[in-house]
Subunit: 87 residues, 2 copies
């Protein structure tokens, strides 16, 4: 693994796991009023397109990290929508 791949994979890991503390906080506190649902709609759209971009370029760091990111941001979106509608 060269330096470029190492940086790509680390960058992807950080941007992928970034949403986890927010998911943890939302689940623990059940409070999401201050969180913007629009942010997670746009994020899902963006990382979805990044996944397609990675597939077109056969760039594995981009494919793997953005597809996982899509799933995690989708989970956060569900939490924000689900808890938002329960108010």
């Amino acid at each position: 693994m060269n330096l470029e791949e190492l940086i790509g994979i680390s960058a992807g890991i950080f941007t992928t796991i970034a949403v986890l503390p927010q998911i943890h906080k939302a689940v623990k506190t059940k409070k999401i009023e201050d969180v913007s649902p629009t942010m997670f709609v746009i994020l899902c759209l963006g990382v979805g397109l990044w996944t397609i971009y990675g597939i077109l370029k056969m760039d594995w760091p981009i494919i793997i990290t953005n597809s996982i990111s899509f799933i995690l941001n989708g989970i956060m979106l569900k939490i924000v929508w689900f808890q938002g509608n329960n108010k």
Copy 2:
């Protein structure tokens, strides 16, 4: 501009502007208690590394979008920290 570049730039625009609704909401409501600061620390780290990855590969969609993302997520981090400390 080919399809690949179009998807790369659109993906980058979405993931870059994604934080804007959250910045807008935080500035408008002055409430950020439910927002996780850790998320924005990790996001800044991640998009910073993506920018370096883009430079190593001379991949302009990745360089442009992630450097702007770094600035915007840095702004959100400042808001979360600044308002958090004012409590």
